[in-house]
């Protein structure tokens, strides 16, 4: 049943996806509003789907697909919070495709896979998942903002008349969205990794830093930290910040993909 709701959500997010592509070429307030309403409706379906999963009695949070679904939902929540503060739908250009992709994969079929050997410290595990996913969502948003910043910077530099009418919010607003997401995401990511370590320690008695999942997660965290530091210390923006954010994003994707190679952090089938 939860899959059905998720598929409804996917349909709504599809409108957001179309908006993301259209917005790049032209501005349409009407379409932005439609996309926003569709996304809100999608979130309602999505929420129902997640609640059903939770109420199903089984502990299936740690399945790959449910994880992806949760991540998509948190990303959308971030998007809505930003909309509430800045009244801009433009981060959707990045957020909508990511959310659509995650939801699409999660909605294809039911895959009741569980993390292995996780019978103890269930609370820590839930904390780990939520914290790390919030960190991921913040990272996605920060990455999106850095791309939009780059785009807006280019537009303003190209000095086309359209730069006055572009769909993008002011440069400084994009910058704030990116920076605040970064600042917010970092503690979540850090705490997420720490709780993960606690779970690993209690389960295996040690943390193997050569495990691909651990290695890539630490790398991602390091890039994240460099981003926060360079921004705080030298105010890195624009191209340099975008390169770092892309790097962090790739590291995050790699860390996610490492689930399939890791011996410690592996979803069992």
């Amino acid at each position: 049943m939860s899959l059905l709701w998720l598929r409804f959500a996917l349909g709504c997010y599809f409108i957001g996806l179309v908006y993301a592509f259209v917005a790049l070429s032209r501005t349409s307030d009407l379409f932005a509003r439609i996309a926003l309403h569709a996304a809100s409706l999608g979130m309602v379906f999505h929420f129902v789907s997640l609640v059903e999963v939770f109420l199903s009695g089984q502990f299936v949070w740690a399945s790959v697909h449910n994880g992806e679904s949760l991540l998509a939902f948190i990303s959308m929540t971030f998007f809505m919070v930003i909309y509430a503060i800045y009244k801009t739908t433009s981060p959707g250009v990045v957020v909508f495709p990511v959310v659509f992709f995650l939801t699409f994969v999660a909605a294809v079929d039911q895959q009741p896979v569980l993390l292995t050997a996780l019978v103890q410290r269930r609370g820590w595990l839930i904390a780990h998942i939520i914290l790390i996913f919030t960190g991921y969502a913040a990272l996605v948003l920060s990455f999106g903002a850095s791309l939009l910043y780059l785009l807006q910077e280019r537009r303003l530099k190209a000095k086309k008349p359209s730069s006055l009418t572009s769909f993008l919010p002011p440069l400084e607003t994009i910058d704030q969205i990116g920076y605040r997401s970064l600042l917010l995401g970092f503690p979540f990511m850090t705490l997420g990794l720490l709780t993960g370590s606690v779970v690993a320690l209690t389960t295996y008695g040690r943390v193997n830093f050569l495990d691909p999942k651990i290695l890539l997660s630490v790398l991602m965290w390091a890039v994240y930290m460099i981003m926060v530091f360079t921004r705080w210390n030298s105010g890195w923006r624009g191209r340099r910040a975008a390169i770092l954010a892309s790097f962090a994003f790739v590291a995050a994707l790699a860390a996610w993909a490492a689930n399939y190679f890791s011996t410690m952090h592996r979803f069992a089938s």
Binding site: K157, L164, T165, L171, E172, G235, G238
Partner: protein, 438 residues
């Protein structure tokens, strides 16, 4: 009408070319003198603003080598300059002058500043004696036309000034302008206007630097801001988010290394440079830096082009006014052409002579051929003698500004009705009179 006009403007030439042709205020009188000393030129003046450099001349035969003058004066090769030049004669030149003064040829159609600039150029040329009769007439009319366009159309009322476009762009960079600082470099009217707009949109404080420190203090006081010594410019400039620069410096005063310093001190927070100086104050190299946004006068034009369409309708109305004014001016100028008046005077006196001879002939009866010849010679001689002074006066007056008055006096004295072109001129003159009275 032997008007000739040559020049470049924001449409015909890029900023790089206009920069090389720009004539500073201090050099303007000399340029006017040089022009009038140039072969074939009777009167001349130069309009040099950030968007145009134009030479307008009244020439001896309508074919003065103005191109040659520009090449010589600016030491430019024909291939460098000629592709950007436009050259207009007679009626077309008059139309262009009217359009410029009425701000129809401006980068921002309808902006009021151009009229002031043309008036200043006119005053400068007049002060050195480069503008006397014909150009005087042309520009007096141009100012009247500009006034008419402004009052009868809405071209100027919704003018999107450079200043408001600058505000829009600043908002695209900074979002809200609250708490942002503005730095004015070079205390000009235009920068003052832009600063006023920015302050009205919430900018917090203003700094002013000018080569003449007293002027900086004067302008800073207007905004309750802070005057900065010009030598401290680079040390303090990074305190501003928005820099409006319009110095008369011949070279860029903000170079790449300055931009890098500013950004380092600002922790890469962006800076917006509004460079309304020609030649430009911000080097293109500095403008390439990440975090530095520079809009020069041409870029601002691009930004306002979208607004221009809104006023197209009003501009069409203004163009119609200009067209009728050109016709009127042409007709009016032809009143200065004394030949029709002389011919008419001769005709008039000849008619009187013939009538008198006929009357005498009736009284005296048939005259012998010898008598006929003698009477003919006598009357013709008297007429020629009487006409000599008025004709000489008319011919010499034609070159003077008071020609209209002299022609008018002669016509009234002899009650002359001039046909053809002059007839049109009279009706135009009459219309003018009516206009003045109302």
């Amino acid at each position: 009408m032997r008007f000739q006009l040559i020049g470049v403007n924001h449409k015909s030439a890029p900023l790089e070319v206009r920069e090389r042709l720009a004539i500073s205020e201090s050099r303007l009188p000399d340029t006017c003198r040089d022009l009038t000393a140039y072969p074939g030129i009777e009167e001349a003046m130069v309009i040099s603003t950030c968007n145009r450099v134009e030479v307008i001349a009244h020439t001896v035969n309508g074919h003065a080598d103005l191109r040659g003058f520009l090449h010589e004066h600016f030491h430019l090769k024909p291939e460098e300059l000629d592709p950007h030049l436009y050259e207009l004669r007679e009626k077309d030149a008059v139309r262009h002058v009217f359009r410029v003064a009425s701000s129809l040829d401006s980068m921002v159609v309808g902006e009021a500043q151009i009229l002031g600039q043309v008036k200043e150029a006119y005053a400068t040329a007049r002060a050195v004696g480069a503008v006397r009769g014909q150009l005087d007439q042309l520009f007096s009319r141009a100012f009247a036309v500009a006034k008419r366009v402004r009052t009868e159309t809405a071209v100027g009322s919704s003018s999107v000034s450079i200043a408001s476009v600058a505000v829009e762009l600043a908002k695209k960079i900074f979002g809200s302008l609250h708490g942002k600082n503005v730095f004015i470099v070079g205390a000009g009217k235009m920068s003052e206007l832009a600063a006023r707009h920015l302050m009205a949109h919430g900018c917090a404080s203003i700094f002013v630097a000018n080569r003449t420190y007293e002027r900086a203090i004067g302008l800073a006081q207007k905004f309750d801001g802070q005057a900065i010594k010009f030598e401290d410019l680079y040390a303090t400039c990074d305190r501003a988010d928005i820099v409006i620069t319009s110095t008369g410096a011949p070279h860029a005063i903000f170079r790449r290394e300055h931009g890098e310093q500013f950004l380092a001190r600002r922790k890469n927070r962006p800076m917006f440079f509004i460079d309304i100086a020609v030649p430009r104050d911000v080097s293109p190299e500095m403008a390439k830096l990440d975090g530095i946004f520079t809009y020069d006068i041409d870029d601002l034009q691009q930004a306002v082009s979208s607004h221009v369409a809104d006023r197209r309708k009003e501009a069409e109305l203004a163009e119609a006014i200009i067209a009728s004014e050109v016709e009127r001016f042409e007709a009016r100028l032809s009143t200065l052409d004394v030949v029709p008046t002389i011919v008419s005077l001769q005709d008039h006196l000849e008619t009187i002579r013939q009538a008198e001879i006929d009357r005498v002939r009736g009284r005296l009866g048939q005259m012998t051929p010898e008598q006929e010849i003698a009477v003919e010679a006598l009357t013709r001689g008297i007429i020629n003698k009487v006409m000599h002074t008025p004709i000489t006066t008319l011919k010499s007056a034609a070159k003077e500004p008071e020609a209209t008055t002299v022609v008018d006096v002669v016509r009234r004295l002899f009650n002359l009705q001039v046909k053809g072109k002059d007839g049109a001129a009279q009706s135009a003159a009459k219309k003018d009179e009516v206009g003045t009275r109302s």
